[in-house]
Symmetry: C2
Subunit: 356 residues, 2 copies
């Protein structure tokens, strides 16, 4: 795709790139950013000219709505560089559409496709050098929007800032994780904002997750309002394998409609796995763990693609899962296949990858 | 109370006050602020020196946690000037304690009483001129805390900024309001953050409230997860009078424990009203409206003290309340009595008011 940067976006380059000071071997997820960012203001009922400019602090009035009422949404996606140095996005329209759904739910203006998608491509074009090749390397992309209007009035802002940040990422094998099934705390309400990638959903999880971590777990698997159905976990949707069938909860207004989740469902079907989207009950998973038919649980999300779960606790009892790594693990197979599509190391028959 | 500002707080005065440009007759709630603000940083596991300095923008990294994960809490309280030019706070320890409860739920550090309460007193002392006398005039106080650490990592921040802003307020008679009973949307989950004054709770209400406003209502009365119990509304707790008894919902992890609510409960008891704290069912209110025993509904919160509700809708049917203004309205009587205590125009037998 050719983008005439000077036409659609105003571009101010950094004086000196900081790429030489960046350690691509030791990368902490989400901690450091590339030289430039894209910013675009919304005011007078319209998106203004988008700018690509040096990464720099944002200055806001202390009464800005985002500080007081959490009117803020974001997205998380990745870019990959193939062996020919071409850069690819994975299903970017999915993130664009989800961003605008989040915007509606948070009473924020929808963003134009030109700003979000073409802007992103223009920005990555400028930051090409920051995307490294090789399986495990990627560029994490963080589009977000915040309410900037001043005034401590609990009503929607009329001014917003849209911004895209880029952060080089590397996947390390972090090991399998232990999770706790939520019995008291909740992440989202029926008719609430759980399905939106709204800022407030994440800080709401911090305290319960901290308690779970203090008790020796990595994450919580959130349940519905009756604490009987398994929903999602941290920043991942969740899959359960009982015998030879994979189950995952349907999306709802409590659950984020994950791009990895929907891609895995399609991929699993294509690969001939039995996969069913239907409510997953805590009781059936406990029972399956007890009678040995529960083979695997895994989380799915952009950051880690797939995270295997080795144990869960429920009502103070710990349930260990068998190690299927050398016995045809579905999680490992699906992770391998999806990662190869994303990295252009396997044929993309779904047409999911988009060249920049 | 004597505060040695130079000892406990660093103080940088403005060069020139903007008080002469402030129109005290035409005040829009929460829109404009006084000359100074209090700020205090949290880092290296400790609150740093608090500073009182000119009101000015806050500068943050674009990856600051508050923008992405909504880790932010606030309080709302008021100061009043009496006929002798003394300034009074209303139950400030309640707001201080609630702030720290919110902090715990959002995995943020609790603030020291010296910074919150003594800091507030020192700040108001400096801004004395901004507090006007006379019933209806007050100074709105907005303490808040935001997560400032950079990095798009969905985990609690290690750095925070606590801040207090002051905004002169005036109460106008805004009229009675019309509300809609929530049948689909929710404000808070069981085991969620509804009881905290967390930023994310407010933006979550914006879209449903916008829809309600487009349908001709001012606010929504939120219900529990089964949409059968009436809980609270916007930034107010809610009271229902059936015949001669006032009912209000008990607080829970979904409902904010309002200072106005608890003060009204005590005041109503003292004044000899029948008041019961117990779950209030949608069905009983609809029935009472239909058989004419529903006399009043009112919201209670710091901003407006009491807001009378003249009509509500449920399942697309509108229920009008009788006009009790000249027939011994409990809402008007309680509002008058509470406002007079706050403004030091009536004896404060509860010891609720605290002199600065
Ligand atoms: C709450 C939540 N669930 C699930 C996911 C997974 O979604 P995706 O696969 O689109 O990254 C995310 C995002 O990472 C999330 O924030
Ligand atoms: C959600 C909510 N409910 C009720 C109230 C009323 O609380 P208070 O009386 O302490 O102002 C507030 C705060 O204003 C609020 O934000």
């Amino acid at each position: 795709m050719e983008i005439d940067i000077l036409k659609d976006f105003s571009f101010t380059p950094v004086e000196k790139s900081k790429i030489d000071t960046f350690d691509f071997e030791n990368v902490q997820f989400g901690a450091k950013f590339t030289d430039h960012m894209l910013v675009c203001e919304y005011k007078n009922n319209a998106w203004q000219q988008a700018e690509i400019k040096p990464y720099a602090p944002i200055q806001l009035d202390p009464s800005a709505r985002v500080f007081h009422y959490g009117q803020a949404i974001f997205e998380g996606m990745k870019a990959y560089k193939d062996v020919n140095d071409e850069i690819w996005l994975f299903r970017p329209e999915e993130n664009f559409n989800r961003f605008n759904k989040s915007a509606v739910r948070l009473a924020m203006p929808e963003i134009d496709e030109t700003i979000f998608l073409d802007g992103l491509k223009a920005l990555i074009n400028i930051e090409k050098e920051w995307v490294r090749k090789g399986l495990g390397n990627s560029l994490y992309i963080r589009p977000f929007m915040i309410a900037t209007e001043s005034g401590v009035i609990a009503s929607p802002s009329n001014e917003f800032l849209f911004c895209i940040l880029l952060s080089p990422a590397k996947s390390y094998y972090a090991g399998k994780i232990k999770v706790q099934i939520a019995e008291y705390f909740s992440r989202a309400a029926n008719g609430g904002i759980g399905a939106a990638k709204a800022a407030g959903n994440y800080s709401a999880q911090f305290y319960p997750t901290k308690l779970a971590q203090e008790a020796g777990f990595n994450q919580i698997i959130w349940t519905d309002s009756t604490h009987t159905k398994l929903e999602e976990s941290g920043t991942m949707n969740v899959f359960f394998r009982i015998n030879d069938t994979i189950y995952t909860a349907p999306t709802s207004d409590r659950i984020l409609d994950g791009v990895t989740r929907k891609s895995l469902i399609d991929l699993a079907k294509k690969e001939g796995y039995n996969i069913e989207v239907r409510p997953v009950l805590v009781d059936e998973i406990v029972e399956a763990a007890e009678n040995g038919t529960l083979k695997e649980i895994f989380g799915a999300g952009t950051a880690a693609v797939i995270n295997q779960i080795e144990a869960f606790s429920y009502k103070d009892k710990m349930y260990e899962l068998p190690n299927m790594d050398n016995e045809g693990s579905y999680a490992l197979d699906l992770k391998d296949k999806l990662t190869k599509i994303q990295n252009k190391l396997a044929d993309d028959s779904f047409g999911w990858t988009v060249k920049i």
